[in-house]
Symmetry: C2
Subunit: 258 residues, 2 copies
């Protein structure tokens, strides 16, 4: 079967895209076929993997006209890693879907054929920094929600909100099987009290839900996307590369991807 | 007269809220009355200034029912700095306004009485990480757009988009007087090539539009909001506090606030 993951958090700049790209690449490097769906109109996962932003390459039309997503899948420079790119027009989905029927499950319908084909073992959906139509559609289409959480105070503020959206989607019957897959701690800076404090608070609250691997703050992770490369292509021995490899081992084990 | 500023950037986590709070506080410390409007449903400026999130304290009702904003103004612990708080319900504005008439100038109408009263010399509006209804309303209500730009590659990606929204609002006659007020470089890390590279690229492209003050990456700026304090209350001699004081001097001069 194919397991669908949404990486979300309405707080901006917490490492959603960086995690989608590098967790996806690390999973793919272990011979597990992985599809990345860029659902953010900023299309950072698209440019971070070296793609230009072209009109018509995203799921925008497919979501609005209830078409299939298959033709949008592209190969990336990483073996076993595939991408459905995004584009600026995606932003229009937020308002255009607002009045249509079954507006929460449009993405799930669009990705249905991909799910049935079992072509990929894992699908990871990168979301914009909001809890609007796009992120809700991603969660409605997924088996697990992965929350990227920066080790800084402001990052904790919004956790309650995204977890209440998760509960609403379950209880409303939109996606009763959706579960919290885990919390990925990102930009952990071992030198600061704040990081340590936040990390220990989060573990106290969420226990086993928090992945034990912490992604360190590492400038190489910030540099890699400017070359359109994953961290494994850019600097495979960096602290960031090692951390995402470890995180992928945890994710593969927890969700039995192999 | 009162000068209205919007701090926006659809890229998340680039220092919009941190700049709104601390630039506002620095301006206020120079005896210039300043109102901060939190337009982000995450309400980080609200909690960063020590306020609880309470239902009904934001402009949500006032925007939808075309009422005045005056009664929502609160004093903060910083003299001359006032706040209109936000709340989670603000997120509903994105879809609820979509079908109403004059949906782009609703905030401008709500703040009209505040503008006429000349009670404040400067009004700073903090925006969510998107270019939806809330950010468009903020830009339609403002004299100047201030873009917070993180000194990292991914942060440059979206500049073209927000500048094209600025042009559209001007050319459509929604706000012909809106200008780009400046670009604030945030989280500058002098130790990394990436920061230096991004900063020099941006200055090459945008010249005088870029403020000469760069806000350094400083953990104290990340810690202050967890105590509900501005950087001046938390650690007035930190690099972050000094930089925001300097930035405020530039802003006051450039826009003749004194
Ligand atoms: N572990 C890390 N160490 C250092 N920099 C990082 C790390 N993770 C991400 N970054 C950088 O921080 C910035 C924010 O990361 P990213 O864009 O992945 O966050 P995001 O949550 O996807 O943002 P948005 O909310 O805009 O979608 C980027 O410039 C990225 O390169
Ligand atoms: N100069 C700085 N040095 C270090 N940390 C900073 C700095 N500026 C902001 N931060 C921290 O980085 C994170 C993002 O900053 P902030 O919340 O101000 O960005 P934002 O653009 O308002 O985010 P959002 O897109 O979610 O609204 C916060 O945890 C904040 O405390
Ligand atoms: Mg992203
Ligand atoms: Mg903010």
């Amino acid at each position: 079967p194919t397991t669908f993951f949404t990486i979300a958090n309405q707080k901006g700049g917490v490492g959603k895209t960086t995690s989608a790209i590098n967790l996806g690449a690390a999973i793919a490097s272990k011979n597990i076929s992985c599809l990345l769906v860029d659902l953010d109109p900023q299309a950072n996962a698209t440019s971070g993997l070296g793609f230009e932003k072209e009109e018509g390459q995203s799921l925008y039309q497919a979501i609005l006209e209830e078409e299939k997503a298959d033709s949008k899948v592209r190969e990336t420079s990483t073996k076993n890693l595939f991408l459905i790119p995004s584009e600026v027009d995606m932003a229009a989905v937020e308002t255009e879907l607002a009045n249509s029927k079954n507006y929460l499950v449009r993405l799930r319908e669009t990705l249905r054929a991909i799910k049935k084909s079992k072509r990929f073992k894992a699908v990871i959906i990168d979301c914009p920094p909001s809890l609007g139509m796009l992120s809700m559609n991603a969660m409605a289409a997924s088996d697990f929600l992965l929350i990227a959480l920066q080790c800084e105070y402001l990052a904790m503020e919004g956790l309650g909100q995204i977890l209440s959206v998760l509960r609403q989607l379950q209880e409303a019957g939109v996606n009763p099987d959706l579960e919290l897959g885990g919390i990925m701690m990102t930009m952990y800076d071992v030198r600061t009290n704040l990081s340590r404090q936040v990390a220990s608070d989060v573990r106290q609250h969420f226990g086993k839900d928090v992945f034990s691997t912490m992604i360190p703050r590492s400038i190489r992770l910030g540099e890699a996307p400017s070359f359109g490369q994953t961290i494994f292509e850019y600097d495979p021995l960096s602290a960031g590369a090692i951390a995402y490899q470890e995180l992928s081992t945890e994710v593969i084990k927890r969700f039995k991807l192999k």
